[in-house]
Amino acid sequence: MVKKAAAHPFLFTGCWELRQMLGRSARDERQLLEAIEEVPLDSIYYHTHSFFLRHKYIAGPYPNDFATWAAIQVRDRVLGEKLGVLDPFEFLDLESLRGAIVTIIEEHLSHLQIIPRVIYEEPFHFMQSRITAVPTGLESRTLTEFREILASVDASVIYYHTFEAILRLGRRNGDFALWIEQQLELPELAEKIAHLDPYMTSLEAIRHRLIRLCDEFLEREAWK
């Protein structure tokens, strides 16, 4: 049975990303490795996640900038593929993700005599995200209200409560699943939402899937 109203409402928060350039670039894979070891975590975040805020499409063959650069600009497809399959959601935090990226590049370079580098193409330019959280003032207390608001908010709200919540705020299942489980006491629906894989899709696709899960649940409950 759907709990009528949550004691604590879900507060919809969006975000805006200001993109900061670090003024540091890499022309070969050794320089890339060294910089990855040294740049702030906000830079690792920028190059592995925040493109979801900017693109509807993956603007390259892989969903992280390091893999795409290796494959396209350096033309080292092997490293591109190795970095491309990394799923950031498998890591507890960004530092562990950084460690995994470093290990992959080190391991790859240890088998090579010559360090692959860009010849005519673009160097890798390191950036970092400055994410500003912005409360929208919208809140829901029931699943129906939650679904309605979710359908109309800015896509950055989806981003904030999934990517930002999981990767930087340490809420492993994301805010949506957490609220639905704890406040609406709907563990089954919460689990389904927690198991959505946001990494290979777009914010609009995540929104669409969340709404579909809510609708399916509400429809089933209506028949009970």
Binding site: E17, R19, K56, R130, T132, V157
Partner: protein, 398 residues
């Protein structure tokens, strides 16, 4: 309904309400934009749209323009070329002219605001007269990825005194001790250059320009400048013409006061000689609605630049749902997601191949145009630009 509300129908879901939330913390703050011209050029075009929107959302925005002599603008033109990598000889007298005009301008209007955005090199030295308080940010719109070092070092002494800098592409970033931000320029979807045109309005404009509509149109809108490669476009057209009966329109302007431009235009005319299917249109700088109609009439839009700052004509055409083939240069590479929102190419042959490919596949062309428009909606509209400035203001409040 406010000015910002007019954008509700053209922006992604929830954007306008979200921008108002983003503005909440900076409401009542003062921002001043300073550049060197109120008409002509991309910066003025952006500020004309952006400043009213900032005011509409609750920020007190002003736009001031510095004044200068012919000598001063000759110096800053040389700066511009040198920063884009061309070898220039700047004498000590020229540098003094630059400093002197900036000193004189500093005596002008009140340059105080919570945030002062100085656009491009012309007013950069105003920083020396910065009053107490306020954040000063240098906004560079030009490609300074390979600047002539002497000129950059001269300008750098001013830039490092700012609180931050903004560039249009990551590769334009410099080694600077101040924070550097990436903000893409943008187009205004409601301006004359980009607003919807009724079929009747479009027909009238095309009739006035004497554009026949009996064949697919390939269009490039740009100055007659070697870096825009109009001759390469003609070469690509000739390769395509062997298989497809198309018409090429090269539309541009502003060549009259530019000796190099006149020379390029003469070469283009020579190359187009005896071909009635190549139309060369010389348009005045305010021919916004004409460019709009031409872009809407085009089958494929080309921007085959060899060098480019950002190339917003690409976003303009994409916004009209057109597939664009662009040179692999500057900001074109971030607007055209290869094979999705357009194609980037490196030669006339590459351009010809992609034109041919698209003309043979109208379905791909339609899908690409659709995706291109959505991509612009999310990344290159003035509303996104507004959000970036609001976020920048909040950055310095934290």
């Amino acid at each position: 309904m406010t000015a910002l509300d007019l954008y509700r129908d053209v922006t992604p879901k929830g954007t306008i309400d979200f921008l108002r939330c983003l503005a909440e913390k900076v409401r009542g703050r003062k921002i001043l934009h300073v550049n060197s011209t109120r008409v002509g050029g991309g910066v003025a075009e952006i500020l004309r749209s952006l400043v009213p929107l900032l005011n509409d959302i609750g920020v007190e925005a002003r736009w001031e323009v510095i004044t200068g002599t012919e000598d001063f603008f000759a110096v800053t033109k040389a700066f511009h070329n040198a920063l884009q990598g061309e070898e220039q000889d700047l004498s000590p007298e020229m540098l003094e002219t630059y400093r002197e005009i900036n000193r004189k301008n500093a005596q002008g209007p009140a340059w105080n605001a919570d945030y002062v955005i100085i656009h491009d090199p012309q007013p950069a030295a105003l920083i020396l007269q910065k009053p107490e308080g306020g954040r000063w940010i240098w906004r560079c719109h030009i490609d300074i990825s390979h600047p002539q070092r002497k000129v950059w070092n001269f300008l750098r002494q001013y830039v490092v005194q700012y609180d931050g800098a903004i560039f249009s592409l990551p590769r334009f970033a410099q080694r600077l001790p101040i924070p550097q931000f990436l903000i893409y320029p943008s187009i205004d979807p409601l301006s004359d250059k980009n607003r919807d045109l009724s079929p009747l309005e479009q027909e009238k404009i095309l009739d006035r320009l004497r554009i026949p509509r009996d064949k697919p149109i390939l269009l490039q809108v740009s100055r007659f400048d070697r870096f825009k490669d109009p001759l390469g476009v003609i070469q690509a057209y000739r390769l395509v013409k062997k298989h497809h009966d198309v018409r090429l329109i090269l539309a541009g302007g502003g060549a009259a006061d530019d000796p190099e431009g006149e020379k390029v235009l003469a070469e283009v005319r020579q190359a187009a000689r005896n071909d009635p299917d190549i139309l060369i249109l010389l348009l005045p700088p305010d021919a916004h609605v004409e460019i709009n109609a031409l872009q809407r009439a085009a089958t494929i839009v080309l921007q085959k630049s060899l060098r480019e700052g950002f190339g917003l004509t690409v976003a303009e055409a994409m916004w009209k749902g057109k597939p664009v083939i662009g040179g692999f240069a500057g900001g074109i590479t971030v607007q055209l997601v290869y094979g999705v929102t357009g194609f980037t190419v490196n030669s006339p042959e590459g351009a010809a191949f992609r034109i041919h490919h698209l003309l043979d596949n109208p379905d791909i062309m339609a899908k690409m145009g659709e995706d291109a428009r959505e991509y612009v909606r999310r990344n290159f509209l003035i509303t996104r630009h507004l959000g970036d400035y609001l976020a920048l203001m909040r950055y310095w409040m934290n």
